[in-house]
Amino acid sequence: MEPFLFVDFSRCIACQACWAACRREHGGVSRLHLLCFQEAAVPLACRQCRKAPCAGFCPEGALVQEEGRGVKFLEERCTHCGLCAAACPFGVLEIVPGPVPDLSRCDLCRRRWEEGLMPVCVLTCPTRALSLDAGGAVGRRRRAQPAAFPVS
């Protein structure tokens, strides 16, 4: 199954743990945005689109879909032109300004992943609002939740 960060908005309690974890893991810049509203909050991060507009718009082919691992960023190809940020439909791919602008985008903690570890936001989230398991337990939980189940 293609991995992506599944966000179950109804479970988010705006505790900011994912944001703080992401910021810590990635040198002081969180790649995940937490948008807080009066009665809800939404964590947003790269969705690892399968036909990603950012990848399609990158003139250098620096962003590619890697089978089973989400969108991979090939840093050596990047010219820091910023077109990918213009293409992202969700505004979650950003150019961090600086002498050499940097690309800030959730890569599902690829470095950890290579060691067999889950992304930090998934591990830290107390309410399981974040997971990588869209196909399995999350879908099952949603289908079986009382609101969806008119019996009983």
Binding site: P59, C81, G82, F90
Partner: protein
């Protein structure tokens, strides 16, 4: 005896330039600069550059940079290059966020790749912050069922 320095003259075709900042990011001496002001993205670059570095040209996605080797500059003074492109404003917050050209290119790309015609979706003409806001509101709308 001093060895004459190699120089190259920089030509930029403003019609080809998209207004991205690949050349500025690429220049190892950060001599190409840009800023967004008064509705335009304004670029500045030296007309002449010493050495044989071609990074700005190589980085340009639109082939807008041309480098022409030349001999000594013979002490002539060269006016720096400057060119500008109109910015696009976010349709929600009215803040400029990228150039109109980049947005037009994006629109054509989306049409070609997913058949999304101009105006069919609201996000392409919004800035990244508004795209996040729009997206989170779209999703919350769905989540209200779950509470």
């Amino acid at each position: 005896m001093t060895v004459p320095e190699l120089h190259q003259q920089i030509h930029v075709d403003p019609d080809r330039c998209l207004g991205c900042f690949a050349c500025a990011s690429a220049c190892p001496e950060q001599r190409i600069t840009w800023d967004d002001r008064e509705g335009n993205r304004r670029f500045r670059a030296p007309a002449v550059c010493a050495g044989d570095c071609t990074r700005c040209r190589d980085a340009c996605p639109a082939d807008a940079v041309r480098l022409e080797p030349m001999g000594e500059t013979a002490g002539r003074s060269w006016e720096p290059l400057s060119w500008s492109l109109p910015l696009a404003r976010c349709r929600r917050c009215r803040e400029p966020f990228t150039t109109q050209k980049i947005l037009a290119l994006l629109s054509r790309t989306l049409e070609a790749t997913v058949g999304l015609s101009a105006g069919e979706a609201d996000w392409p003409s919004c800035c990244p912050a508004c795209r996040r806001d729009l997206e989170s509101r779209r999703l919350l709308d769905a989540a209200r069922w779950n509470r």
